[in-house]
């Protein structure tokens, strides 16, 4: 059953219009202007303004504040809805978290509605409400509490406003979890309260553990009451509803919300509704980003099967319920300042839903729901959720064919993940084989175990080319008197690439040690001031250990540090080796002088650009990018996070490669000052000239066991290349070779450059053109001009 159809640009096909509920829901969400909701910040502030509340144990304080939010935030049930619950008071909206990154964000308060990129609606009254809370939080937000020394504070302020070397996302909260929704829909909040009570009885009163369990009980009960509020609302709406069908639906919704999330779900619809309430609440607890439902096709399947067997559900109805859920996830957007928008463009929330792949016992888990989800992602093509598909040696041919059909047809979902490589990497990092097989992506591309990992996968992103700049100038930025790195060998004395490598490694070690100092202060601040009892009760290990996930209570505790622009850095190192030490075209000091002059010598620049680059199956060039990644990982391995876990390397850059590029000087690979770096693990822009097979061979030279936080590999095609059955087959074969030879992740972009150019010229004609940005999708119109240009560049492999 097809609810409605869209053409390849995501535009609804006219004659099918208004045929279905799902179409109407989608239209309502896509037409809504995103806005800022002040409910959470208002209620959070009122609670914290009471001095007695501020004196409570932080576990209790957070649980009670969140309980107040769930009790008093505005709730709505919109027309046609099957799955109910609103993240914010706006149809599409986001909240402010004043105690986290809220204050730096609020500095933009007068710009939100006027800015060009990702404007957010906020009324005069709401602006006033937000202004009122600034004084209270100005000296109380998390990052400020984290840094006690004035020197670190100044650096923090500079970093918050203008990060050059690295950006720490944890100062806005952690999140990035795939909660144990299987548990919630099985035992309900009552089950969780009972479990917490059992553990609490064994721990002494007024201990840290006791408070943690108390907090879990408070928030679990509050979540149940949140359901009751919708039950009451649905009941009331049913009474005044004139349409008898809708009246019946509302009564059923009331019944469902009365039962869950308090109790275990007794039907498929109850299960979906239950986890969606938790999805909303967790997004209001800490950072509202990358709270991931994860492997829905796996943990919902028993409920689906049971209802189907008892004839309480049809496949079409299940699809309608999941479509309604899917649309709901697009109703939340992050509220970012203009500066943060540059880093995380496209109003992306990172709610990953993963389908397919192995089950914990090693057999294939593809089922009916898997296929339903594939249909939904192809038909809806909305910003959220971020759909991932797992591929294993046991994936059925039908599954592979359907995915291939979608991708070559221009759907940019799902992104593909290779079970063989990822499970192996996770096991090497200490996961049990069963937990590793139960992985899902969170955020953009980062693998975690469903319901068991508390991995701050997006902890920080490092500007690696800038570290090379320091290595070429004894720890100073070009043209600066101030030393921002360590002291390393001056270029005049460098005799070989070994000297160059040593200098790079010295600067890398120095920057990462600075990062660790700042990051770990933030980790501790999160634990001390912003524990997360709700997230924790849905993460395996926290209740058993009586320890919040922010303090290391979960089973697995990693932190992901992103190595941004490894290819630009690797290519630059190779360009130095080739031009200075092999071809002897130029001396290293002269090269550095040219970099300071922004490569004003055109001949030199074109010579540098002509040197082989990563991505062309050239082993001498490729080995330098691999070197950068390996060194980065080795250096991270020297540290342990404050939750007792490892730091792991991720190769994705969100939209930060563009921002970092803008603030970084010229590089030996021929890139001029201010030009964008390449995204994720992509070759330097436009530098992969030998087509996708060569590119794949280059990518597969990377040791993916060193990139445990995931990679973002964009395979880009213009629509002409993949036309017809020949093209479809070629894509399928290309991907199967990539994965067979040990590729980790890929996402396919099939775009017509002409359409993108047209969309850039006339944004109004292409309101819902969805493109892959960096491990996630965004509407083309939501991107900055620079990012639009980059997507256009990407849209074709052959320039």
């Amino acid at each position: 059953m097809l609810f409605y159809t869209t053409d390849h640009l995501g535009r609804p096909v006219a004659e099918k219009k208004n045929l279905s509920r799902i179409f109407r829901l989608k239209e309502a969400v896509q037409k809504a202007n995103p806005g800022i909701c002040t409910d959470r910040s208002d209620i959070w502030t009122s609670y914290h303004k009471i001095p007695d509340n501020r004196k409570k144990s932080p576990h209790i304080r957070i649980a009670e504040a969140l309980r107040e939010v769930l009790m008093y935030k505005k709730i709505h049930i919109y027309p046609d809805e099957l799955i109910v619950g609103n993240y914010s008071s706006k149809r599409v909206g986001g909240s402010i978290f004043p105690e986290l990154h809220g204050v730096p964000v609020l500095l933009d308060i007068f710009k939100f509605s006027k800015r060009k990129v990702n404007p957010l609606q906020v009324s005069g009254k709401e602006t006033w409400k937000l202004l009122k809370i600034i004084p209270f939080w100005s000296f109380r937000f998390l990052a400020l509490k984290a840094y006690r020394s004035p020197f670190q504070l100044i650096r923090l302020l500079i970093h918050q406003l203008k990060g050059h070397f690295y950006i720490i996302n944890e100062s806005g909260g952690i999140s990035h979890i795939a909660p144990d929704y299987a548990k919630l829909i099985t035992v309900g909040t009552d089950g969780i309260v009972a479990e917490a009570t059992r553990f609490q009885e064994k721990s002494g009163k007024d201990t840290e553990k006791w408070y943690f369990y108390e907090a879990v009980k408070i928030i679990a009960n509050a979540l149940a009451k949140f359901g009751d509020r919708y039950a009451d609302l649905a009941q009331k709406m049913a009474e005044s509803e004139s349409d008898s069908n809708r009246k019946q639906e509302l009564l059923e919704i009331a019944q469902i919300c009365r039962n869950i999330p308090r109790k275990g779900a007794s039907s498929f619809q109850e299960a979906v509704q239950s986890l969606f309430f938790a999805q909303i609440a967790i997004n209001l607890e800490s950072l509202d980003n990358s709270v991931c439902p994860g492997r829905m096709d796996q943990y919902l399947y028993p409920f689906y099967l049971k209802d189907i067997q008892h004839h309480k559900l049809t496949r079409d109805k299940a699809k309608e319920i999941l479509s309604a859920f899917s649309i709901k996830t697009s109703e939340i957007i992050p509220v970012f300042s203009e500066y943060l928008t540059k880093i995380h463009g496209g109003m992306f929330n990172g709610q990953v839903v993963t389908v397919g792949g192995l089950q914990p016992d090693g057999t294939d888990g593809t089922n009916d729901l898997t296929y339903i989800f594939l249909e939904i992602m192809d038909e809806l093509r909305m910003r959220q959720p971020n759909y991932h598909a797992r591929i294993s040696n046991h994936s059925p041919q039908k599954y592979m064919d359907q995915i291939n059909q979608m991708l070559s047809g221009g759907s940019n979902s799902p992104a593909l993940y290779n079970d063989t490589v990822i499970v192996d990497t996770m096991v090497q990092h200490g996961y049990s084989i069963e937990d590793a097989r139960d992985y899902t992506g969170v955020g953009c591309v980062e693998p975690v175990a469903q319901g068991k990992s508390f991995s701050s996968t997006d902890a920080a992103l490092v500007n690696v080319p800038l570290i090379l700049e320091l290595a070429l100038n004894q720890g100073k930025r070009f043209g600066s008197w101030f030393r921002s790195g360590a002291k390393s060998m001056p270029v005049e004395k460098m005799q070989s690439m070994d000297d160059m490598k040593t200098a790079f490694e010295v600067q890398l070690a120095d920057q990462l040690s600075r990062l660790m100092k700042d990051l770990q202060a933030i980790e501790i601040a999160n634990r001390k001031y912003h524990p997360t009892p709700l997230s924790s009760c849905l993460l395996d290990g926290c209740l058993e250990s009586g320890t919040c996930s922010t303090a290391g209570g979960a089973r697995y505790n990693f932190s992901g540090i992103q190595c941004v622009a490894p290819a630009d850095t690797g290519d630059s190192l190779y360009a130095i080796e080739k031009s200075v030490f092999i071809d002897k075209k130029i001396t290293l000091p002269a090269l550095v002088e040219q970099l300071i002059q922004n490569l004003s010598d055109k001949q030199l620049r074109s010579y540098l650009k002509g040197i082989e680059k990563f991505g062309n199956d050239h082993s001498d060039a490729d080995k330098w990018t691999v070197y950068v990644i390996n060194k980065f990982t080795d250096e991270l391995n020297r540290y342990q996070n404050t939750r007792g876990g490892r730091y792991v390397t991720g190769l994705y850059s969100v939209t930060l490669h563009e921002y970092y590029g803008r603030i970084t000087g010229a590089l030996p690979n021929g890139r001029k000052m201010g030009e964008s770096f390449s995204s994720g693990i992509s070759p330097s822009n436009g530098m992969d000239r030998l087509g996708p097979t060569a590119l794949i061979n280059s990518i597969n030279r990377i040791d993916f066991t060193k990139t445990a936080n995931g990679i973002n590999f964009n395979l880009k095609f213009d629509s002409r290349t993949l036309r017809g059955s020949t093209g479809k087959l070629a894509l399928k074969n290309l991907l199967s070779t990539y994965f067979r030879k040990g590729g980790m992740q890929a996402q396919v972009n099939v775009l017509d450059p002409a359409i993108l150019l047209a969309a850039k010229e006339n944004p109004d004609l292409y309101p819902n053109l969805l493109v892959r940005v960096s491990g996630y999708s965004a509407y083309f119109n939501d991107l900055s001009l620079e990012m639009k240009d980059e997507i256009i560049r990407r849209s074709s492999l052959t320039n």
């Binding site: 074109s606 097979t693 060569a694 061979n697 036309r723 070629a730 074969n733 199967s736 067979r740």
Partner: protein, 309 residues
């Protein structure tokens, strides 16, 4: 290779002017197409005019030249000219390649590079995994690969030993004994039939068609993987008479299909960059309607015609 050296046919090395990976439309699966340099024909519509001469040759990209004239400083023959379209004087140039290595903007390029059999094998072998999974392989194109038959005698057995699928694209003008000797190493032959009229064929390609047609007939008797193709050149070979003649020829050889390659004028842009006697044809590329007509004419003659786009 100096231009005054006599042309000889290499045994263990050859001249290649391009290697294209991820080729999708020259045979089954994902393929690597190897473009050999040198062709016995000089078709007026040639898409790759730089492929005709068997020797390497110099071409000039005026749009990227920054007029630094570093090339002049290094040219031993004083062959660098001020001409804005062609930076070198072909009468003086000996193809020593000094200017090419000096040109930092890559505006002077040598078309055609010598490859040894081993190196060429290594290059195509890079995509072996893609060949295996997709049922692909290599396609010999050009130019005319058969012009380098002596090299192929050596090289193709090495390719076949690696179990790589091979496709040959040929104009058909070659010594039959050589073709016959190569057949065991070639899985598919794409064979161009340009025109059935000998004198028109000679006018537009520089050679008559007798040998080409004879080789086709012989091949159709001995080769199962043979496929006829025709570049459709508006006003030259898409007339009803020529199509009927081609269809009759195919049927007389028990061959019942043809692949139609639409003409486009992309190759003509390259003429300006090189020293060539050829002139652009200035024919407008045909629209899909006209191509469909050609296709239908073949179908009417009971020849299955596949249209490339």
């Amino acid at each position: 290779m100096n231009k005054d050296e006599p042309v000889h046919f290499f045994n263990d090395n050859t001249v290649i002017f391009d290697i294209q990976r991820f080729s999708l439309h020259d045979g089954p699966g994902i393929r690597t197409t190897v473009f050999f340099k040198g062709c016995p024909l000089s078709c007026a519509w040639c898409q790759n005019p730089e492929s005709q001469n068997v020797r390497p040759e110099l071409i000039f990209y005026k749009e990227s030249c920054i007029q630094c004239f570093d090339c002049r400083k290094h040219c031993p023959e004083n062959a660098i000219s001020d001409h804005s379209m062609l930076r070198f004087d072909p009468k003086r140039c000996t193809l020593c390649g000094q200017c090419v290595t000096q040109c930092l903007t890559n505006s002077l390029r040598m078309i055609g590079k010598k490859w040894s059999a081993a190196d060429l094998l290594g290059e195509i072998y890079k995509d072996i995994d893609f060949f295996i999974d997709s049922g692909g392989g290599i396609t010999l194109s050009g130019g005319e690969p058969l012009l380098q038959a002596n090299f192929l005698f050596q090289w193709l057995p090495m390719v076949k030993e690696k179990k790589i699928h091979t496709t040959l694209e040929t104009c058909g003008l070659a010594n039959w004994m050589q073709i016959e000797k190569l057949l065991p190493w070639i899985d598919i032959v794409f064979y161009d039939l340009k025109h059935m009229n000998d004198s028109i064929h000679k006018k537009f390609t520089g050679c008559g068609n007798a040998g080409i047609l004879e080789n086709f007939s012989r091949l159709s008797r001995s080769k199962s993987g043979l496929q006829a193709r025709m570049p459709v050149i508006p006003g030259i070979n898409n007339s009803v008479e020529n199509i009927q003649a081609t269809a009759n020829f195919l049927k007389s050889n028990h061959h019942f299909s043809i692949h139609l390659l639409p003409y486009h004028n992309l190759g003509e842009a390259k003429l300006k960059r090189m020293y060539s006697q050829q002139h652009p044809m200035n024919i407008a590329p045909q629209n899909s309607e006209q191509l469909k007509q050609t296709q239908e004419l073949f179908e009417k003659e009971k020849i299955h015609a596949v249209l490339y786009d």
